[in-house]
Amino acid sequence: MQVQVIENVLKVNDDIAAMNRQALRQAGVWSVDLIGAPGCGKTLLLEATLQRLGGLRPAVIVGDMATQRDADRMARFCSQVVQINTGKGCHLEANHVRQAVGRLDLSQVDVLFVENVGNLICPVGFDLGQDAKVGLFSVSGGDDKAAKHPFIIVESQVILLTKTDLLPHIPFDMDLFMADIRKLNPTVPVIALSAHSGEGMDAWIDWIRAQSRKDAGR
């Protein structure tokens, strides 16, 4: 006997993500999911971002398989930080975020940053309820990584190329990297930046401000 189902495989996750999205929007919080490989510079970027937000009040949810280290780093710049340890899990799921959001005082938050587990593949398919996904690629990761990870390129609302201060020291074909992105996503903004030197950080902060303002009017 055949049973017809036709349902998204990640339906349970999607349903919880929809609840997260509604709760965050009702609280006036704009949220963003940072997705990138281990070592691509997510945590340093967030540290640099938290110091440049001006009047926007941040909160951070940070996912790692183990340790509290990233939360300790963020806590120097942000009073509302929740570390999630996924144990064996290679990505955050909507339920992780739901539990973490429950530990935040959303009335004191304008922008919620979610730093996903370092992984450019698994996190992409799991909706967390965020307003925007950000795909991070680093100069040191190599110029071929966009073409190799099409899902994050298509899903991202902005793509960041990090560690541009290394460009003089590492062969990186910027034209190839951009062409690979454009094949998959003709319109996504791409910001090249360095949290270390500060180059490009203004463009990233401007994007956050513009996006959060735009979505606040929805």
Binding site: M1, V3, V9, E155, P186
Partner: protein, 128 residues
Amino acid sequence: MHEFSIATALLDQVVRHIPPRSVLRRVTIEAGPLQGIDPEAMRWAWEAVTEQTACAGSKLEIVQKPWRLRCPDCGQDRDAPELDNACPCGGQRCHPVDSDALRLLTLTVDQEDDPHASSGDRERPEGE
């Protein structure tokens, strides 16, 4: 190995849809190319997550969907086996749309109290 993440979610979902007093024989899913699923790894992951569950021994069938490409110049959508920005209209700006499907389509089950239960889908043990 994101196939393992997907297999874990799929098992939870399949268990919710199996009719009472049924034995699961086959699961059919469809996957778009953006999901980047390797069929062999996916079947292996399914075998691993179903081991020692009521779904053990069931087969996973993966229908791999083609790319769906949209051309902004002629406005047409078309299916293609590979990602290709070139359009038959001459445009060079095709980009993927709706290529991220990951859906459970059907379950094939044998009902334990049904004497006419189809055994057509029952898999023979390996090596037979």
